[in-house]
Amino acid sequence: MGGYFKVLSSERLKMSRSFIVLLLLVSPAVAILIGLLSNVSQTAMPWTHLLLTMSMMHAMLFMPIMSGIFAAFICRYEHSGGGWKQLLVLPVSRTGVYFAKYTVVAVMLAITQLLLAGAVFLVGYIKGFHAPIEWEVMLRSLLGGWIACLPLAALQLAVSMMWSSFAAPLALNVTFTIPNILVANSSTYGPFYPWAQPLLATLPGSEMDGGGFGALNLPFENLMITVVGSFIVFFTFGWIYFRMKEV
């Protein structure tokens, strides 16, 4: 597909010497701090509670914001050095470039999730948990959180390609992410607000213990409809835009 793998390989080189690696560590580091300060070791399901505690900030703020930062970042060196031109005069299709760029953002987000998982294990180990790790809960949370970020990443990639400014897409991103604090608790709006989905998909919800609150009572599948719907809209928008873009 239009040099997709070649672009991907080239992207990896461009990323390798940048400080973006440090950004990957921010959220897991904060989560470790929160985890260490919390008091969850004496509950029935310590791992789930630890995950809940540690992933709150991560899923509510960091993951949506990171989607925007990664997207803006991989467009930044193209905007600043006239890289779009250099890239697009090469024998690659626009579709190939777009998919490769999106893949990079998605992979970065996946790495962030893996690091968070590592952070949870680390804190659990430090706290001396004896209970067996609840793999299914962990997997569901982390995978769900990652998938819920994909539409946001698509939107952010689209606007980052449109605007040569680094700050504008991030401002947009933060503007939509901050209301999460309220929206995620609303059973009316929560399920339909794309930026709240990473949190809703991450928190072990109703299926696990029959509890939860607000929108968390909604089944997993419904979240996925909002997620998949917004993904299709954002991704297609970005893709078509990039194909038409005048460079």
Binding site: G2, G3, K6, V7, S9, S10, L13, K14, R17, S18, Y77, S80, G81, G82, G83, K85, Q86, L87, L88, V89, L90, P91, V92, S93, E246, V247
Partner: protein
């Protein structure tokens, strides 16, 4: 005429209600250096961006290597190297890494990186991050990038922009060597005729989006003849005599300025003047510089 590498037919690009490029018919033959001239904002870069598929023409067709750009874009771009406007690079990477990022897409052997670095004499600086480079070095890296894929066609947009005289000279020599040493056809744009006339065989002059002149540089030079000048002992009387023979002329700085005449006509005129006891000090051809012609073409949209 030899094989055309670039051929555009009635190429148009419209932004809002304004044509940036209009009815452009560009013809560039294999192995030549084509100078694409015009003042800033005439549509040179817009044309080049269309040739490279970075923007779509509003109307018209582009054929490169005899293939339609719209249908065969990938095949064409594989054989084209380019430098558009200012050099593009990734500042946090070294020259070698910048070239490697492009090489991974072009799929040429790794040894090619050292070759192109050598061609533009950047080998010594290759391990430094590009953000510390001077403009001239960035420009040379841009050309190295353009050469990386062994292109058959090189499209360089204002490659000497912002360089010092030494840098300009280096780049010019480099461009001049392309057709001879590597068999590459070159399209080089500039807003300075003096820069292009020393390397180009053919020039196209564009003004407000329209091609106003496209011919060989020697034909352009022929247009440079602008009549001749006589310096004589009694200009007033001489002018009277010249006009009596039906030639147009006027006094100019103590000499006579005459329109362009054929050689026998000049000889006859001189003889008449001598017969009438005029002392002739000088007979000079008035050559306009190419720069004058360029200005004339640009201002008037063609020769009178």
């Amino acid at each position: 005429m030899s094989e055309l590498v670039i051929q555009t037919k009635d190429l148009n690009k419209k932004y809002g209600g304004r044509y940036a490029v209009r009815h452009l018919n560009l013809e560039i033959a294999r192995g030549e250096i084509y100078g694409f001239l015009g003042p800033n904002g005439a549509g040179k870069t817009t044309t080049i961006r269309m040739l490279l598929g970075l923007i779509r023409p509003t109307m018209g067709s582009i054929r490169i290597f005899g293939q339609d750009l719209k249908k065969e874009k990938m095949n064409i771009l594989r054989k084209v190297g380019s430098l558009v406007e200012y050099p593009s690079n990734y500042g946090h990477l070294t020259a070698t890494q910048n070239l490697e990022a492009v090489r991974r897409i072009l799929d040429v052997p790794k040894s090619r990186i050292d070759e192109v670095l050598d061609i533009v004499s950047l080998t010594k600086e290759a391990k430094r991050p590009v953000k510390g480079y001077s403009l001239g070095m960035k420009q040379r890296l841009g050309i190295a990038t353009a050469l990386l894929g062994n292109p058959e066609l090189l499209i360089l947009d204002e490659p000497t922009n912002g360089l010092d005289p030494e840098g300009i000279h280096e780049i010019r020599e480099l461009i001049r060597s392309m057709p001879k040493q590597h068999g590459i056809t070159v399209l080089v744009s500039s807003h300075l005729l003096s820069e292009v006339e020393q390397m180009a065989g053919t020039v196209g002059i564009i003004r407000e989006g329209e091609m106003v002149f496209q011919d060989t540089i020697s034909n352009l030079q022929q247009q440079a003849s602008g009549g001749f000048r006589l310096v004589v002992s009694e200009p007033q009387e001489a002018l009277h005599l010249v006009r009596g023979h039906g030639y147009a002329g006027q006094l100019e700085n103590g000499g006579l300025s005459l329109e362009q005449l054929s050689d026998p006509e000049v000889a006859l005129l001189v003889k008449r003047l001598v017969d009438n006891n005029h002392a002739i000090y000088r007979v000079e051809e008035k050559r306009r510089t190419l720069e004058d012609i360029f200005m004339q073409v640009i201002e008037q949209g063609g020769f009178q």
